[in-house]
Amino acid sequence: MADLVTLTIDGVKVSVPKGTLIVDAAKRIDNDIPVFCYHPKLRPVGMCRMCLVEVGRVQRDRATGQIVVDEAGQPKIGYGPKLETACTTPVEDGMVVIGASAKVKDARDDVIEFILTSHPLDCPVCDKGGECPLQNLTLRHGPGTSRFLFGEKMRFEKHVPLGQPDEALIYLDRERCIQCARCTRFTTETVDDHVLGFYERGRRLEIVTFSEPGFDSKFSGNTTDICPVGALTTRDFRFGARPWELTPAASLCPHCPVGCNLTFSTRREAKAGGQPVIKRVLPRQNEAVNEIWLCDKGRFGYHFAESPARLTTPLVRQGDRLVESTWDEALALAAAKLKAAGAGLRVLAGGRLSNEDLFALKRVAEAQGGRAGLHSPMAGGEPVQRLGVGAGTNLGTLGKGAAILVVASDLEEEAPLWWLRVKQAAERGATLIVANLRPTKLDRYAKHKVRYQAGHEVAAVQGMLVAGSSDYAEAFAKATDAVIVFGREGLDFAGSAALAQACANLALATNHYGRPNNGLLAVWPHANDMGAWELGLPAQDPRQLLAGAAASWIAAADPVGDGRLSAADLRARGPVIVQELFLTETAQAADVVLPAAAWAERDGSYTSGERRVQRFYPAVPAHGRPDHQIAAELGARLGVALPKFASQVFLEIARSVPAFAGLDYAALAHVEPQFPDVGGRDLYYGGTSYANEQGLGLPLKSGAERGAAVTPHTVEVPHVAEGLRLVPVTVLYDRGTTFAASLLMQPRVTAAQARLNPADAARLGVRAGDEIELSGADWSVRVAAAVDEQTPAGVVLLPESAGVTVPPGPAPVAVNVPAAVR
């Protein structure tokens, strides 16, 4: 590259891109300049003064501007009288940086001594003790003694829950804070939640939260990773273990299609009978997926795996009861029922199953002539398979010249890490176009906000096909790279298929497909919906899929609980076999219930929304059996041979599914150096996130990249009925099967509250706080009402999966205020 700058750091020459800071340049040659306030993912502030170094610059003659040379003909280096902060000083050609001198050592000793004047040194009881940047840097740089008096330390509150005492996720210890502002800068700059701030000045300075509920951010847990001391710690891990006692186990987040890489910290515990238990979840670095961040759902929402409500023994139906049984008996019974169904066997699989599970279920079903489908309210997988973002896509590299279109999705609630990365792309200069029926948080960064009426999602995208129809359509067409992110807000099953096709048409018309950083990105409701599509299990309405079924085999899906199918309807279609973690409403209607192992208890792989196939590994002992093994056991009894281990099943997938050709578990486990490097001795630099040693995963090629024919298809613009419509909106903290059992997060679960526009509310006579009755053709629910201006006229917004059962898509709705209320 032309704009490389060469400088010398402690005698070592290094060439780095122009604009790099000295501290980052030093990192590239493994020269550790200690920092507290600097973080490679945040803007530098130079607050802690720990990174002071001697900086020498090439001297120039003031009059002529010529480089001054010494007797030997070398450029003369001039040093400033004072030390400079390496974290705020960009590199210059010929610069000489000295970090290993007595002057620098003295400065660092003084800074450490000064920082410790108000630090309580209660490392023995601190959750950070053992992985604490302050502890490590004090041992490496501190003077060892202090001239300050221990008794004169500032005394502050040591136990401040940031939020209601029984709800706070993060605890603050005010004494331990060294005022580096990493947390306040992360919340305000990086995730744009202005909920943390500084209060008072000097030694009295304190971190405060002023949101309701306290520290109201979906990314709050990340501040505990980057806090260089134990000032911010999580409720989840509070006094859970000492860091050196923990064994890491790599995994993935099972909650949304982003596929964030994470690491379980496990420890053998007396209360678990000497078995390993998960003590906490930390991010695992993957710069192409989640960088070093995790949202709070991923970080704190893993507890469902250890819920006492988990199924552990197979159940079989005797009359109207389910009684405990043995695996052999239950499997034999299930196999007999499936065999009797013959070609009438229908498999309904959930999107939290791994690729291996889905493949095994499909293989068994199809060997009998049956069919398998995905239980998901969102269709439109085929266009994404063909025109999805190209292999090698990294939202973190989108910037100037690129465009991102987000349609019908509230990304912050549906896929928080994509929200963050799209936001950052917009801040780097990418043109962000946000089209939705209501304002969302992403609007703040959008260059173009497109507001359409509910039901006109497809028309809004179709409109962009007309050249010159709007400035944003033009900006999108002209962009060098463009990604179309689409969700399903305000869309029913058919509507989401139409929107996917409309987006595909737009990608084709503007030639944004078939290469990295170009194509479609679907915001699926589950972690592995994309994998199901790639493996040939298309999403289907359960009623349609199970029509004509002679036996239903349902894995990791709860169509009854979701209100898509009544238990009686399900049972009327022949025997029901369910593989589940919990005794869901569907499982209660089953003839045989087989307990499945949770993802933390087994290995497997997920295909993320970006179509990156990534592995997860077992961390704790299993309560049940992996779904693919249950399928293999049943398959064996039905005459279908399936391998026992996930890695072998994956090889089968690679052999028979073209998109997965050539992949295997070893390839998925490959790693490469990433910058900034985190983990290990870089604790003080990047935070406590784990380095990725277990695999970055590999992206699948889109159909277009593999040479599949890509042609636009006409899309029927759906007819929109007049009148008030109910629009279910996805919320992050819902009551899904895998989240409801994570008790820690229960206080944050979204209440079932219908939101109305003030005009609609006035017309209908609804006041905020009223209990209202929403009803449609064959349903009716009672919920509390809220009135807010953000809700567009003509719709009633209701959080999805919030404890009340409503139709999956938008539906005509009548609002009644029950007389009893007035």
């Binding site: 040194l121 209660d122 023995p124 009881v125 003790g129 221990f150 008794g151 040591k158 136990h159 509070r238 006094f239 859970g240 273990a241 000492r242 050196w244 006692e245 515990e269 007396a270 209360k271």
Partner: protein, 166 residues
């Protein structure tokens, strides 16, 4: 030959009138040396609160991996030790312990002490794991035991301010 026999009787006779050196264990016991390293004890402060704060530094220092600690959070209604943290599980496997005393050295509150008890026999291997109840000493006379309710804001510091040894 006779001279040897007589010499033996003389020696025996001489010791018959010396003070006795054997003790009638277990009826009688000899005092142990001040620095003797016997079975561990978890000490209490004079007010009856436990010194152990569950920091697990003893477990980290233990070369034989004999100590296992699980910590929990104190509240003023249910207080075990000063400060925020106490040991909810504390186990030592005496079959693994080599009585090196590193745990004593590592303890920031002087809670664990290798005391004088050397009678460590048991009938099965499971009993070699001694629990917190067995390790914890009784509260001093007049002091209440733990857990107990205390005035809020009274015990906020986990680690007492200790003087350096002179």
């Amino acid at each position: 030959m006779f001279s040897e026999i007589i010499k033996g009787f003389v020696t025996t006779g001489k010791y018959a009138f010396e003070p006795r050196v054997t003790t009638q264990y277990p009826e009688a016991r000899r005092p142990v040396a001040p620095r003797f390293k016997g079975r561990h004890e978890l000490k209490r402060y004079d007010n009856g609160l436990e010194k152990c704060i569950g920091c697990a530094l003893c477990a980290a220092a233990c070369p034989a991996d004999a100590i296992f600690v699980e910590a929990s959070e104190n509240t003023d209604e249910h207080r075990f030790s000063p400060g925020e943290r106490y040991a909810s599980t504390y186990e030592i496997n005496l079959l693994r312990c080599i009585f090196c005393g590193f745990c004593e050295d590592a303890c920031p509150t002087e809670a664990i002490v290798l005391e004088s008890n050397y009678e460590l026999a048991y009938y099965d291997r499971r009993s070699s794991i001694i629990t917190k109840e067995q390790l914890l000493v009784a509260p001093p006379a007049g002091a209440a035991s733990t857990p107990r309710a205390v005035e809020p804001g009274q015990f906020t510091r986990s680690v007492p301010e200790m003087k350096n040894p002179d």
